[in-house]
């Protein structure tokens, strides 16, 4: 084989590969295996019992509910915000870009506290809500709000560079050919951003499933009512029910792995039809 100008000596290549693999194994693969080993520590029966007991089931249901509300909302918002920022010039554009990034820079615990202060019993808005029999804090709406806040930037952040790179000439071409704004969006814009969008949605879902800090502050930890999967795991762990904790944790890992597989399958299929 001819030596390429960009290649390194054999020994360097081998050691670099080894370091990368060792790192991956130590920090990614081993912990993942550990979760499953611990989860099945006391046999399949205990595993199944841990994930089918009523509190666990309600935690799973709540997490899925939160994801199914927050991800579509943040996807819509993300597309809209990215579209505004990438394709138009207006006053306050840089302010909007900065605001989108706030959830990234604020600690989730503080994000949760913001909602407690805003909607909790000690604020006038919270008092008004209590008077009108609406519960936000220590209830499902609070958890949804906190998760919405934390997962806010994922889709928009993923789409803005994609859209900026593509410019707007394809959209202009579509409009000049007589297509309405809506048709232009569905026929031209959306197909062009679908990979960025899918990636953003996956990251957003993963974060929504895994969010702990913000949710922990607003949830109130009411078993069977306001416990999400992450909160349920924490409670189990604190009660020394390690096997049950890891059983639920393994379920979350499986969810994460499935989303990654879906992403790869779609990418592979579409990749085949295009050059």
């Amino acid at each position: 084989m001819k030596k390429q100008i960009t290649s390194e000596p054999f020994i360097v290549r081998i050691s670099l590969t080894f370091i990368a693999l060792a790192f991956l194994t130590l920090f990614l693969i081993l912990p993942l295996i550990a979760i499953f080993v611990k989860a099945f520590d006391q046999g399949l029966d205990v595993y199944i019992a841990s994930i089918t007991e009523p509190d666990a089931l309600s935690a799973i249901k709540l997490t899925l509910l939160v994801v199914s509300i927050t991800v579509p909302l943040n996807t819509l918002f993300g597309i809209f915000a990215a579209w505004l920022i990438a394709k138009f010039n207006f006053k306050g554009k840089s302010v909007l870009t900065t605001i989108i990034d706030i959830p990234f820079s604020i600690s989730p615990v503080i994000a949760g506290l913001i909602f407690v202060l805003l909607f909790g019993a000690q604020s006038s808005l919270g008092q008004w809500l209590i008077d009108h029999n609406m519960k936000i804090i220590f209830a499902v709406p609070g958890i949804v709000l906190a998760t919405l806040f934390v997962t806010f930037p994922f889709v928009a952040r993923e789409l803005i560079p994609v859209m900026q790179m593509q410019g707007k000439s394809e959209e202009e071409a579509s409009l000049s050919l007589g297509a309405s704004g809506l048709k232009t969006f569905f026929y031209v814009t959306l197909p062009n951003i679908k990979w960025g969008l899918l990636y953003g949605v996956i990251l957003c879902s993963a974060r929504a499933i895994g969010e702990f800090g913000a949710v922990s502050v607003v949830s109130g930890h009411i078993r069977g009512l306001t416990n999400t999967m992450t909160l349920h795991i924490e409670i189990l762990y604190n009660e020394y029910q390690f096997t049950a904790a890891f059983a639920v944790a393994s379920l979350m890992s499986i969810l994460a792995i499935i989303t990654l597989i879906i992403k790869n399958v779609i990418e592979y299929r579409d990749g085949g039809s295009r050059a």
């Binding site: 071409a173 050919l177 007589g178």
Partner: protein, 360 residues
């Protein structure tokens, strides 16, 4: 479709892209908007297409005002500089797009679309490429697909932004011929933007020369080339030699030389600039009265039947370009380093390099 543009101005922030533009284009014309980058030509084209809103002024298509009409309703075919083909659609789907997005009532049937697109594919000679994606096409092919896509909706006006800008010389020439032919066959009113004077002179039947957001001159290719109205047009269309001097008795006095100015107004005086095209210079071995400059040949460049000669004036070192025929060059019998006399046979006088206030 005829177009009337009245008092159109447009600014981007503090940059004024267009300053009070007035232009009338008749049905069936093929007009070139010619100018350097930043002259506002693309902005004007985009305003005509409705992709940009003018700050001031009105635009009429035929007798209808369209100043603020949405692009989608203008029925204008627009060919973008970098084609802007839909990357995720095949050639066929790209061309069919404009028909597919028509409202249900006006949309042709699937079979009609198929027939029409097939016809357009034949026109652009890309029948074999109908299922390819844009990324699998060459620049020239993409350009033709972009044209076919614009033509599919049967526009009354075709706008092309630097249509041949990104193509190599040979393909460019071919497409130029093709566009001219297309225009002859379909008689669609067409406007194209270019910074290439040769392209404008070759394709258009009228040229609008633009500079710094203003129209410098409008006329036929022959007109703008032979009778430039401003120093800018003189400079931009073809090469030119500029001699600085002052006017006296209908002559441009320039050091020891006095150039006779044809049709000069004898009463004008003051400093002035004489503009002379390279082919309007005669070279000779002997001095020809007081009208000649002495210069040394520094470079000789043969292109087919013409010879371009670069000379350096002996008195002040200014470079002069001359263009003579092969026969003239042979009979002159000179080589690099030889001294010759240069005599302008025609000269255009401007009193101000920028505004071009004329003395004629």
């Amino acid at each position: 479709m005829s177009i009337v543009i009245e008092n159109v101005s447009k600014s981007f922030g503090s940059f004024q892209a267009l300053k009070n533009i007035n232009l009338k284009i008749e049905t069936g014309e093929l007009v070139a908007l010619l100018g350097p980058s930043g002259s506002g030509k693309t902005t004007l084209l985009r305003i005509i297409a409705g992709l940009e809103d003018p700050d001031e002024g009105v635009i009429h298509f035929e007798n209808k005002e369209v100043t603020h009409l949405h692009t989608a309703k203008r029925k204008v075919g627009y060919v973008f500089q970098h084609y802007a083909l839909f990357k995720h659609m095949t050639v066929f789907e790209n061309i069919a797009y404009g028909l597919k997005v028509l409202p249900k009532k006006k949309r042709p049937s699937k079979q009609e679309i198929e027939e029409k697109v097939t016809k357009l594919l034949q026109l652009i000679k890309l029948e074999a490429f109908r299922d390819r994606y844009p990324s699998q096409l060459s620049g020239g092919q993409k350009q033709r697909v972009a044209l076919a896509r614009a033509l599919a909706v049967e526009p009354k006006l075709l706008l092309l932004d630097e249509p041949f800008g990104a193509l190599d010389a040979k393909v460019r020439k071919e497409l130029r011929r093709w566009l001219r032919q297309l225009h002859e066959n379909f008689q669609i009113t067409s406007i194209f933007v270019t910074h290439d004077q040769e392209e404008a002179l070759d394709v258009a039947n009228r040229i609008v020369v633009m500079n710094e957001g203003k129209i410098e001159q409008i006329g036929t290719p022959q007109d703008v080339y032979e009778n430039p109205k401003t120093p800018f047009v003189y400079n931009f269309l073809g090469n030119v030699n500029i001699f600085e001097g002052h006017l006296q008795n209908g002559k441009l006095i320039h050091g020891s030389v006095a150039f006779a100015v044809p049709n000069a107004n004898k009463n004008k005086t003051g400093s002035a600039y004489g503009y002379v095209r390279p082919h309007e210079l005669v070279l000779s071995r002997e001095s020809d009265s007081s009208q000649s400059l002495e210069a040394t040949i520094v470079h000789v460049h043969h292109i087919g039947r013409t010879v371009n000669i670069e000379l350096k004036r002996n008195d002040n070192g200014q470079l002069i370009e001359a263009e003579i025929t092969r026969e003239e060059f042979d009979s002159l019998n000179v080589q690099i380093g030889d001294s010759v006399f240069v005599t302008p046979v025609n000269m255009h006088i401007f009193q101000n390099k920028k505004t071009g206030a004329e003395s004629l």
